[in-house]
């Protein structure tokens, strides 16, 4: 990051001073691993004693299809895999009703058509790679609005307002270009590129808004995310929290909604099914993260309630991941960490959280500049 170059000599000295202070903050915050090497080694030793492999989980069922090109009994194997994938789909529908169909049902036919073609041609069709082209082609029919053209995306970029928050009793302004820096440099690569197209701040909420929405007039709106997740708006109430909470928690929570199992950018169908399944299991576990965002959700339709809870649970564990990962249950951490690595192969949450922490600290001390 080159942030302190150019300017007059006096400015230069000031910038060098800022750079030194900034570096000092950064050095203090980083180098604090989430899981110490000694503990990691111990975990590996435990697994080794049990005769277990600690490598990544077994490849998905779709990955097995890659193998069918080399096998004779293609039809039998294909039926077996179809049955296994169907079982996953059934389980999701049992848990979440129609919400459990995250697009897989609608595109299954095309997947199998492609598989047939690949087998016939004996070409290198990879089931392990994200089936992006195929998905885009198929999903466009389901929801064209979710797939904006590149030109349209570019047009909508850079619409970020200055955000406001607190540092103790003092109000802190996070300029829009620094918000953009934080997104681009300290969140997974694709979060900034394919995340919300607008992050806004409104000093006051529309007094009619609560009435129009049929909500109690004593409530206040803190933040809003559009159904297509193309924009996030923060209101005055959001600015009353510490700046690190605004960025690491509230913003991360809202952005996480944009990158769950409905995001089609880089993940395969099976991966998305697995994520929803994993979250469904976690919200039913005793050792789940307890959050009032999740616990307060009530809906007469139980499958719908479970789905809404899954959405919020996902957003909450993401917020924990970006703000205080050392206080997460490893089961939740593993789900989020694996997912983030699909959006950024070089992703390291410890380093990136430290970098974001340093930027936020520098903003608070007034030593961060472009």
């Amino acid at each position: 990051m080159e942030r302190f170059e150019g300017g007059k000599p006096s400015e230069k000295i000031e910038e060098q001073k800022h750079a030194a202070e900034y570096k000092g903050i950064f050095e203090r915050i980083r180098k604090n691993p989430l899981i110490r090497t000694s503990v990691l080694s111990l975990g590996l030793a435990i697994s080794a004693l049990g005769g277990l492999e600690v490598a990544e989980r077994a490849p998905g069922k779709l990955a097995e299809l890659h193998e069918i090109q080399r096998e004779e009994n293609v039809a039998a194997k294909k039926v077996k895999i179809l049955r296994e994938l169907g079982a996953k789909e059934k389980k999701l529908k049992e848990l979440f009703g129609e919400r459990g169909d995250i697009g897989y049902g609608a595109i299954k036919k095309e997947i199998w058509h492609e598989a047939d073609e690949a087998v016939k041609k004996r070409e290198g069709f990879s089931w392990t790679a994200p089936s992006r082209d195929l998905e885009e082609m198929s999903v466009r029919k389901i929801d064209a609005a979710k797939h904006k053209s590149a030109a349209e995306r570019r047009k909508m970029e850079n619409k970020i307002d200055d955000l406001k928050a607190m540092d103790g009793e003092k109000e802190v302004v996070v300029p829009h270009d620094i918000v953009k820096d934080i997104l681009e440099e300290t969140f997974p690569e694709r979060w900034a590129k394919e995340g919300p197209r607008r992050i806004g701040f409104q000093k006051s909420e529309d007094p009619e808004a609560l009435k129009q929405l049929g909500l109690p007039k004593t409530w206040r709106i803190v933040a809003e995310t559009s159904a297509g997740e193309s924009y996030i708006t923060f209101y005055k109430q959001a600015s009353r929290q510490p700046v690190d909470k605004l960025i690491n928690n509230t913003l991360a929570h809202e952005m996480a909604h944009n990158f769950d199992w409905t995001n089609l950018a880089v993940t395969s169908f099976e991966e998305r099914m697995d994520l929803l399944q994993a979250i469904g299991e976690r919200i039913g576990s005793k050792d789940r993260l307890k959050s009032d965002y999740v616990e307060t959700i009530k809906n007469e339709a139980k499958q719908e309630e479970r789905y809404l809870k899954a959405q919020e649970y996902w957003a909450e564990i993401c917020a924990a991941y970006f703000s205080h990962p050392k206080e997460m249950n490893y089961k939740d951490f593993k789900i989020v960490d694996n997912w983030m690595k699909k959006f950024d192969q070089k992703w390291n949450v410890g380093d990136k959280n430290a970098e974001r922490g340093a930027i936020i600290e520098a903003i608070k001390q007034g030593v961060y500049s472009k």
Partner: protein, 142 residues
């Protein structure tokens, strides 16, 4: 029941215990006053609601009678700038229980000693990681 340590800027300020609609705090007098004031007067809670066109985080006022007051109090304290480290002694107990069931062979006992040595300074992520690894081993050896 929820137990937690309250810190600010890395400084330990006291210990919080919430059970039902009762909260007890031992430690820094300013935090104590803040916590007891919250229990007496209520606090703002944030929750997310799903509407047809959007999701909105809304703020509502709640009192200690709310069934999820304890969770809301923890989140509110975090928004007030405090770090709230929840007590998860049940994880320590679960690890100790599994360690106690390890075979007597030297290789297992070595793991037991090493794990017990690491536990006091382990964070929650590390503890749950170790618990997962131990559970996997027991599951595999069933």
């Amino acid at each position: 029941m929820l137990k937690a340590d309250i810190l600010r800027d890395g400084v330990h300020l006291g210990h919080l215990l919430i059970e039902g609609d009762t909260a007890m705090f031992e430690g820094d007098s300013a935090v104590k006053s803040l916590v007891y004031g919250a229990v007496r007067d209520g606090i703002p809670r944030w929750k997310e609601i799903t509407l047809s066109d959007s999701k909105r985080i809304v703020e509502e006022a709640i009192t200690k009678d709310d069934p999820h007051f304890d969770l809301a109090l923890v989140v509110w304290l975090r928004r007030e700038g405090y770090d709230v480290l929840e007590d998860h002694s049940e994880v320590d107990l679960a690890i100790e229980k599994l360690l106690g069931q390890l075979p007597a062979a030297e290789k297992w006992q070595k793991i037991k000693v090493e794990t017990q040595k690491e536990l006091p300074q382990a964070n929650f992520l590390e503890k749950t990681y170790l618990l997962e690894k131990l559970r996997e081993v027991f599951k595999e050896n069933k």
